[in-house]
Amino acid sequence: MWRRRRTSLPPGNEQGFTLVEVLVALALLSTLGLFVWAAAASGEKSLRRIVDGIRRYAEILELDAVVRSYAQRVLTPYWLPAPRSEISPGSLSVSYLDGSEEAALQISFRGQTLSVGDGAHNAEFQGVQDARMEITTAPPQGASALKLTVRLGGRQPVTILAALGGRPFPLVGAR
């Protein structure tokens, strides 16, 4: 609290604040404090939102890198008509990981956890609300690709389209 100095008055004639002055000062300070607190709370909320967004973006980037790197290792023989895959609700398996018929890229989604790997070594991503997967084709040359659509943190779904390393010979005989 400030002490008002009335320098224009003669020495020894100093006066304190009146009750009204103190109440007004308190009210002003309280209002100011409230504003500061509200601003701080709002700032912290915004920062938290930004941080969450960044964290989510980093997670998506990591998921994207993992899915792409595994998809590249799927070497479907060119004499097959399509990649050999098995799809069931919440899981997808694509054979010929590293060119071996017995090895497969496996993606599964259970209880908010998305798992990507070869069954023995898997990368896990927590807090996934929804995940859908399928084998499709990707532009520009219609390469076989893995399409994974995930929803993280209640946001808009994100789609990852990762081309497989090996591709079946295209249908050109009908031309």
Binding site: L75, Y78, R167
Partner: protein, 334 residues
């Protein structure tokens, strides 16, 4: 200082400190993420550049110096050599002019010098059994027990079209069945192929629609009757083996001289189908050699490397397409 002074300053300081701490944390996270994004973008950019370079190589492969011939005199080799020292390392390899272990008749290994390349204690029969049990294989690594790594890389491959005249009939049935999912039709097809073999008749292009039937659009040109290997690039061991094999029980006359002539002449010029017919004096059943040896390369491997990353593509030239068209069968960025 009066003890009552500065209470609001402390409040503001606490708030400012708290916000600063949160801001520093956020900035650190933003910094890490930005680095991650930058790394990813630069990776994408390198991938784009490598793919563009591979695309240019494919474009060059389509521009042969002589019609229907791929040879060491083609513009693609000048292009590849011209890119040296530019920060972009390019490699182009003919994959289909090596002997395809997925389809080869094992007699070719048994009755020629190629048998001597088998690892000690291994036989062509064992290779055939492995292929019948588990093949065909998408990776040459499956044949590692049978050959040394250097021989495997130099002389053999698992890439190439499936020639109906030179491929082992069990493999023809397996590929037909795998491609169409119709094992009954695959059996019928195998019987038809055996008919051609017993009549000692070559399958010709005009036989294909009837032989492949309803599945022709799925099977052609994957299965065809184009010469498998390019005489301009076929490895010496394989060339000698194909020339010395006793087709119909009889060797081609002057096969070693033909081999020497081919090896010398292909350094100087592009060898054409006419050259092949003039140099290799095949008669009767021996003309089967022209199903092995031709002048076109069908499958190429292109490797482009820059900034510590590499892109490997395997492309197949589609037969009888003008302008040249290629299908990408493998595309790996690492």
């Amino acid at each position: 200082m009066d003890s009552r002074e500065g209470s609001s300053t402390v409040l503001v300081l606490v708030v400012v400190l708290f916000l600063s701490a949160v801001a520093v944390g956020a900035m650190a996270l933003i910094g890490t993420s930005a680095l991650q994004v930058r790394r990813r973008l630069s990776q994408e950019e390198i991938h784009r550049q490598l793919a563009e370079e591979a695309g240019k190589v494919v474009e060059q492969l389509g521009r042969s110096a002589a019609p229907d011939v791929d040879a060491a005199t083609d513009p693609v080799w000048t292009y590849v050599a011209g890119r040296r020292g530019s920060g972009m390392d390019l490699t182009v390899e003919d994959l289909s002019s090596r002997l395809n272990l997925n389809t080869v008749r094992t007699e070719l290994l048994e009755k020629t010098g190629l048998g001597g390349l088998l690892a000690p204690g291994r036989s062509a029969q064992e290779l055939r059994q492995l292929r019948a049990d588990k093949g065909p294989f998408p990776s040459i690594a499956a044949y590692e027990p049978f050959f040394s790594p250097a021989v495997l890389e130099r002389d053999f491959s698992v890439w190439g079209y499936v020639n109906l005249n030179t491929s082992f009939e069990d493999v023809l049935r397996a590929v037909y069945g795998a491609r169409t999912g119709d094992s009954a039709s695959a059996e019928t097809f195998q019987c038809a192929i055996r008919g051609f073999l017993s009549r000692q008749e070559l399958v010709k292009k005009e036989h294909l629609p009837a032989l492949l039937g309803l599945y022709y659009p799925q099977l052609y040109p994957l299965m065809n009757v184009e010469p498998q290997m390019n005489v301009n690039f076929v490895p010496e061991d394989v060339l000698r083996a194909v020339l010395s094999y006793p087709y119909g029980g009889k060797r081609i006359g002057g096969c070693e001289a033909a081999c020497q002539a081919i090896l010398a002449d292909r350094q100087q010029r592009a060898l054409t189908t006419q050259y092949l017919a003039d140099t290799v004096h095949a008669k009767g059943e021996q003309v089967l050699i022209f199903q092995y040896l031709g002048t076109r390369t069908w499958f190429w491997r292109i490797q482009a490397r820059a900034a510590g990353r590499s892109l490997e593509q395997v492309v197949a030239r589609l037969p009888h397409e003008t302008p040249a068209r290629f299908a990408v069968l493998q595309d790996r960025f690492q």
